[in-house]
Symmetry: D2
């Protein structure tokens, strides 16, 4: 990945390759054998940097990007659910594959089972995810998740759809006992419907969280929050599946 200030370009390092940016041409081939963290000069004498991308860097560069949760949101999902190495996670909708490939990165060697009914997204997502090297950890379901989830006993179901409440019944079938349901929704009305249905389906520990972040501009003697700061992306609703057993 080439980096210049906030700008990032994902580039494969190949011999003879030249890469054109608004800062001039970068002779990518010269970077062969050089360590990450090296600077490289453009033809216009600007200094760019070569770094290994983190998973979130990829998703900015996907073809046909759909709106995506922010790092603050996805990070909170990992922490609230314990999704990590070896986890099995169902996810919908696939969209451009952004969340899919990020989850795949963190569950390795586990699996992400992703659902998408739209043909066009489906093809592009596979392509996008291939670029991130995460294809081995993803299984694609070209299906409407509101009808059924074919997996069983999964650790978590993560929903980023307009109608998350329609997935709660299928999610209950797919989750292991005590497993985690998560939905991401921008509006209050969606939260209300989702929480109502979670209660109907006897989920427990239902919790909705809004997460903000803002950047601090650090300059000696002039440190302050940046002017345009917070962002409403959406609310995260978390809940846990209960078994039907009551122990006396």
């Amino acid at each position: 990945m080439l980096m210049f200030g906030k700008k990032r370009w994902l580039v494969k390092v190949e011999e003879e390759k030249e890469f054109h940016t608004h800062l001039g041409i970068v002779t990518i081939g010269n970077a062969i054998g050089k360590p990450y963290g090296s600077a490289i000069m453009t033809s216009k004498d600007k200094q760019c940097w070569i770094f290994q991308p983190v998973p979130f860097d990829y998703v900015h560069k996907f073809r046909r990007p759909t709106q995506i949760m922010y790092p603050k949101d996805i990070g909170l999902i990992l922490m609230m659910t314990g999704i990590g190495p070896g986890s099995h996670v169902v996810e919908a909708g696939t969209g451009s594959g952004a969340l899919t490939s990020i989850l795949a990165y963190y569950v390795r060697p586990g699996r992400v089972f992703t659902y998408e009914k739209r043909e066009d997204f489906f093809e592009i997502a596979r392509e996008n995810i291939a670029k991130t090297g995460m294809l081995d950890y993803v299984e694609f379901n070209h299906k409407d998740i509101t009808e059924a989830i074919v997996e069983n006993n999964v650790d978590a179901v993560i929903i980023d759809l307009d109608t998350p409440w329609l997935v709660i019944h299928p999610a209950k079938q797919a989750l292991k006992d005590g497993g985690h349901f998560v939905s991401f929704s921008p509006t209050f009305n969606q939260i209300e419907k989702t929480v109502h249905m979670l209660k109907e389906e006897k989920f427990y520990n239902i919790k909705t969280i809004e997460c903000f972040s803002r950047e601090i501009q650090t300059k000696e003697g002039a440190t302050r929050p940046k002017k345009f700061v917070a962002h409403h992306t959406g609310y995260l609703t978390f809940a846990r599946k209960t078994s039907d057993q009551l122990i006396d």
Copy 2:
């Protein structure tokens, strides 16, 4: 883990065991063979729930807890650095071992190398981490990290100390090229000093973020943010190590 509303108790399930809470006695032995997500009745006829803890649940229960970052903070670290399965991470100070065990969970089968100079914390941390089952993924350094880091080529260095700027030089030695430095500090003065030193040591992509979260109380017809909401825990400063190479 037993759960009742916001209350959580970490309990080992053993035959004959009884567990006393303010809600009455729970006959833990009865839970043997029952699925997670089951309800269990207390002697006072209250219904508690049995769930598998997520990593963050453990750290609430540690002996001698030092202040701990919140899920929002740790989740953001995972996302901004790509710390995940297989990562090698240096961390200081160990404190009660809370962040250590959470990081260990997410880097499995990687390693967390943790530094603590205080004897008393050191012993308690080992005990605490043992309870989370993460000992295999942790290496302890009973040393002052501001003097030196013995590891090389690590993916990230995470600092939660009063004087993070003193660790930047050792961190630079320990990090692989392009590796991630992260520090967590509650005050602006700490941020300023840390960012100043990061620039001196030629780190790139330096960024300070404050992350807030608040809970939404979802009740049909009465959905609203909770009254007491956000929390200042601290600021996260991120930066990447550069190599000394300039590619023409």
Copy 3:
């Protein structure tokens, strides 16, 4: 007003008077003829301060306080509506008279017309407002504001009731053309209903704002936001009455 840290006591300065606090006895009579901003020693040798209260200080001390908007909320109302010297404002419900007396302070020599249907609140509010010296600027209506507003041609109507949407029709009758409607509600569901009704009644420039505030703890070398910071008090919805005229 006596002040010690965050603690405030409203005390009338009278000869011979003693005032008992957890910090010891204060001989109030000694303050006669002394300037505001003076320190006074208690019997336990603590130093308290004598300051003139701002309007908001009064309302903390009212008998039977109902929940009250915060300075950030009331300040925003003043600014968004131009309520100021000479304004005529309708307000409901009176509650303990807190908002009433604050508004009265800022509209002097204008008027606040306040509505309260509960007998008990009504009496207490009058007493409370008397203490603030604002009785001359307040007219009381012991009536249900959802039935009718008896005033005409007022500059603004400010509603802090559970069902603000029921007041929109009466408010339209009472407001002058172009006048301001404001309601304060803690839940989203209230906002939705209120905004819906405002549109029905052809109000324009409808806007809902949430205002947060947090305190910064300033200490040289250790400046940071306070730990417990923001607060959800409620949302403010603003709108302006339109006339029925269309100018070609």
Copy 4:
């Protein structure tokens, strides 16, 4: 004032007058004798609205606008200091006269004594304030406020300058006992220096507050905070002058 969505134009209503906007020509003369809150059609058949401006509307339209505090900030100043009808307030720097004219509006029939050392701002500010009709309540000091304040016994001193700490000594001379000092600063470093100097000069009840606001987009069934929401404008530091007297 003409209004269309978020767009506002301040226009004097005069016979024969036409006003050109991107929405077409508005025949302002036709509005003579019509009530506020009326709609007026443009030549392109768009419907604009005629409303009386609130004080804050003016300042958006000033010649040579300097950065200005937001309504949330100014509202909080009014509430924390009790600046209202009849108050005498010193203010610096005048800048374009925005804060000056807003304060003048709220202190009527009191006075705002405003300080500006830059010749160019000084002239423009007078012109701008004249347009708001507030000239009678403003006295101009074409002076450097860090050198001296000529007024005495004022209720409050409000500072929006890069170096507020230089005004604290003069402010102490000008304030009545118990009077309010307020400064508005975007950075932490400014806050630290200001608070340090306030303590040196024995001010009491020193408090720094950050105020945020965000708009809620209310649509039936799709209510949510707006995407780009909060704003860092600056921090407000409040303090009260003490007298030198100690009462035993």
